[in-house]
Amino acid sequence: MTGPAPHDIAALAERLCVPIPEAFREGVADAFARLLEQAALVMAAETTDDPGGDLDFVP
């Protein structure tokens, strides 16, 4: 599984005011890589052009 390097994620997080302590960076990088894998599937999925989705979701 590949994703951004731990130091790149740490820099992004720092910029977003969610600093990641050094000891947690490897674990977060692994979790982020798994998340990106799923995000890629989402972004490639076929959907309608409805704007935004529906927070008021009705089953």
Partner: protein, 464 residues
């Protein structure tokens, strides 16, 4: 192990007192829970007081309610008046106690049930194994070396072990269905937005459900019926009150059964597929149904969960990340960094997938699927083999539950007992708002002996 219905009957007919039942439940926690770790709090004093009040009502000839004297427990993310709601975390330990009971907890108490304790869970409900760094793992009553499932593992283990006949959990991506399956009991995830979530600590508001565990389908239906009803404090509630218990024994004839194929069979161990096929055979076969877009739906649920969970915990991530469970902390960090475009797209995937599921229900009345790709894993197990590849165990236990709940239909987990194996859970999925049908099918499977709750060996050993 009598079920809640039988216990309430006995109390109402004065064959046993509510106080005696509460005392027994508390004693059972003392005897069994050191090995299980299903409870994080025991409410002995209030339980005995509540039970005494039930006994006084009976003595005065006042109706004590349909759950008279029945002990119950709740996942520790439910508000209980006077108790701090932990949601499986350490960061909430110093939060003020809840001012009042969660709506659904209050409803069960009003019906005469007696709350005896709060149950262990994955931190903030983010997990499928109830391996909690702060409160320890919950052990499966059928094999103490194995997981009880999660995130409502304590609630399921407490019912499976016979400590309480019913309990409440929550299900965001499978957290009722997985522990019900691993512990070999019944669990209901109702239709999204059917039951009040007032006073229930949120994990992912747009995906969270509340629901019951039980050792019989009639108990599951009784508790579910009692939980229904309008709540002025929950503006998201939808759907009318539709009692299921009166029609529970009605014969289910001519229903169209679909067995979900493709994604829902590719990664499952043979024993899991055997359980699904037993249920299908009992329901006169069923045909294989392909539900399109499952991988994308599961991915979308995965992303929404991470992003919403991360946003919920932003303050903790900034101020005290070391206080979070390592099993959740890294995923919360990752979710907090996910681009918003993914979240928006994931919500559109949800709408498309809901429509695909609706289309499948035009030709089927119920769908069958495994709860998990494997029986309850060992607590020291870290990977799962899917498609010949080792993948991390914890996030992948929910590959069959996560996409289905994403569309919001009602789902009952029924336990299938295959000799020599751990219990196996099978999902009975209905069209939205058809709790009545999934419960009727579950009741029929129970009458046929296909769905069966086996008393766990650990309890038998402890009982001597």
């Amino acid at each position: 192990m009598p079920d809640a219905t039988a216990l309430a009957d006995a109390v109402r007919q004065s064959r046993i007192s509510a106080s005696a039942l509460a005392r027994a439940a508390i004693a059972n926690i003392g005897t069994l829970d050191p090995a299980l770790n299903a409870f994080t709090a025991v409410f002995a004093e209030t339980a005995m007081a509540d039970a005494a009040e039930i006994d006084r009502k009976i003595a005065r000839g006042v109706d004590p309610g349909p759950l008279a004297g029945v002990p119950f427990a709740v996942k520790n993310l439910y508000d209980v008046a006077g108790v701090t709601t932990l949601a499986g975390s350490a960061v909430l330990r110093d939060a003020p106690p809840a001012a009042r009971d969660a709506t659904v907890v209050a409803r069960l108490k009003t019906a005469g049930a007696v709350l005896v304790g709060a149950n262990n869970m994955d931190e903030f409900a983010y997990g499928f194994t109830t391996q909690n760094a702060h409160y320890g793992p919950t052990h499966n009553p059928h094999d103490l070396d194995r997981s009880a499932g999660g995130s409502s593992g304590g609630s399921a283990a407490a019912v499976a072990a016979g400590i309480v006949p019913v309990s409440l959990g929550t299900d965001t991506n499978g957290s009722i269905r997985v522990p019900a399956g691993f512990c070999g009991i019944f669990g209901l995830k109702p239709t999204f937005r059917r039951l009040s979530r007032t006073g229930v600590y949120p994990f992912v508001h747009e995906l969270d459900h509340v629901g019951p565990f039980a050792r019989s389908v009639r108990d599951l239906a009784l508790v579910y019926d009692l939980l229904q009803g309008p709540d002025a404090d929950d503006p998201h509630l939808l759907g009318p009150v539709e009692p299921t218990l009166p029609g529970l024994e009605t014969t289910v004839a001519g229903i169209r059964v679909g067995v979900l194929g493709g994604w829902f069979r590719e990664s499952a161990e043979p024993v899991v597929l055997e359980a699904v096929d037993r249920v299908a055979a009992a329901l006169a076969g069923g045909r294989t149904v392909t539900l399109p877009g499952v991988a994308e739906a599961r991915a979308a649920a995965f992303c929404i969960t991470a992003a919403s969970g991360g946003a919920m915990r932003l303050d903790d991530l900034r101020k005290r990340p070391e206080a979070l469970d390592p099993a959740t902390r890294d995923r919360f960090f990752a979710g907090a960094l996910l681009p918003a475009s993914v979240l928006h797209k994931a919500r559109r995937v949800r709408l498309a997938f809901r429509d695909r599921l609706r289309a499948v229900f035009e030709d089927c009345d119920i769908l069958l699927a495994p709860v998990a790709p494997c029986p309850a894993p060992r607590l020291d197990q870290t990977t799962l083999t899917i498609g010949g590849h080792a993948v991390p165990l914890r996030p992948n236990i929910g590959i069959y539950t996560q996409p289905l709940s994403f569309a919001g239909p009602p789902i009952v987990t029924v336990p299938v007992d295959i000799p020599g194996q751990m219990p196996i859970g099978v999902q009975i999925v209905g069209a939205p708002w058809r709790e009545d049908l999934v419960l009727r099918v579950a009741a029929m499977l129970e009458r046929m002996g296909v769905a069966h709750v086996r008393p766990p060996a650990h309890v038998a050993d402890a009982a001597g």
